[in-house]
């Protein structure tokens, strides 16, 4: 029997995926991976021998586009969480960027309705925000208010405040140290 195990995970992912937090692993017996481009960036293939029940061997591959390495897979748009959460997050991000326009005030920008809705998503938004921060590494956006509001943490040193590149590095390091995967 073939299983598809797909993971929402970041650079810290090890080949031994037993090290992943259970909440970042999604397992389906179907041949179709619920996938939205960018929502998942690591894929794990699980091969189980029917004749030796319970004896499962795993192979691992990593790709942005699983078609490249597993062309037999049927890729479909999922409608169940967590992809639904990811779509909600991406829509709120677009809405937020429209709402803030040319505003300079960090407070005004962070109190835009869409940004507050992202904060309202709670812990589920943290992984998505961390992924955004990593993608935007050259010019990170203002995600720090939301991260602090959701997690209660403040890993940024006083001398780095306002310097979004350094703040992004501090948050990504903090996230790795605290078991977040993205």
């Amino acid at each position: 029997m073939r299983q598809i195990i797909y993971a929402k995970a970041g650079a810290a992912l090890q080949k031994d995926f037993s090290k992943l937090m259970p909440s970042t692993l999604y397992i389906t017996p179907a041949l179709a991976i619920p996938l939205v481009q960018g929502a998942y960036n690591r894929f794990l293939m699980a091969e189980q021998d029917d004749n030796r029940q319970g004896d499962t061997t795993y192979s691992y591959f990593e790709a942005v586009d699983p078609f490249l390495v597993a062309p037999h897979l049927q890729i479909t748009l999922a409608t169940q969480p967590p992809v639904e959460d990811w779509l909600k997050f991406k829509n709120l991000v677009s809405q937020w960027r429209r709402e803030r326009g040319a505003r300079s005030s960090i407070t005004e920008v962070a109190t835009c309705p869409a940004y507050q809705s992202i904060i309202g998503m709670g812990e589920v938004a943290v992984g998505f925000i961390l992924a955004e921060l990593e993608l935007e590494s050259g010019d990170p956006d203002q995600w720090f208010w939301a991260l602090r509001a959701i997690t209660g943490a403040d890993p940024v040193s006083d001398e780095d405040r306002g310097n979004y590149r350094r703040m992004a590095r501090s948050w990504l390091q903090w996230a790795q140290e605290n078991g977040y995967a993205w």
């Binding site: 005030s105 960090i106 407070t107 962070a110 010019d139 203002q142 602090r148 940024v156 703040m167």
Partner: protein, 153 residues
């Protein structure tokens, strides 16, 4: 198209009175730009996201912004008239007279034009200080000045 800002937010900007001078970036904002910095965002927000000069009250008032620029030698002055050897900042705000909330800062160039960083968007040169007034930045509340350093434009 002038730049990436929504035209209804800055209705007084047009092709005749402004020029886009940079790509959009999140790296710095208008308050930092007017202070001569392009690597961090200044703002006294309650979540400690922005940089704010040490020993200046971290509050969103015109007085706190005047004190923040005061750490760089700026003092209140009468107006935005170009004066040789003098560098000026215009502070913008919205709200009730006497209790305006700061929204924006622009720096006067040697030419008499002004330079503004528009939130997370581009920085621009604008011919008049009023060109960026409107619904999001409000109006000019006060001007600050200091002796012009030898660095710019």
């Amino acid at each position: 198209m002038l730049g990436s800002w929504p035209q209804d937010e800055l209705p007084n900007l047009n092709a005749a009175n402004c020029e886009v001078k940079s790509e959009a970036t999140n790296s710095y904002n208008c308050v930092a730009w007017a202070a001569g910095e392009n690597f961090r965002n200044w703002w006294p927000d309650p979540f400690m996201t922005g940089y704010w000069p040490p020993n200046v009250r971290r509050e969103e008032t015109i007085q706190a912004f005047i004190l923040a620029y005061g750490t760089m030698g700026f003092k209140l002055c009468f107006d935005g008239t170009l004066e040789p050897g003098i560098e000026k900042i215009a502070l913008y705000g919205n709200g009730q007279r006497g209790a305006e909330v700061p929204t924006h800062a622009a720096l006067q160039l040697n030419s008499g034009q002004w330079t503004s960083k528009l939130g997370p968007l581009e920085d621009i040169n604008h011919t008049t200080v009023e060109a960026v007034t409107g619904p999001i930045y409000g109006k000019v509340i006060c001007y600050l000045s200091r002796l012009r350093p030898c660095r710019q434009n």
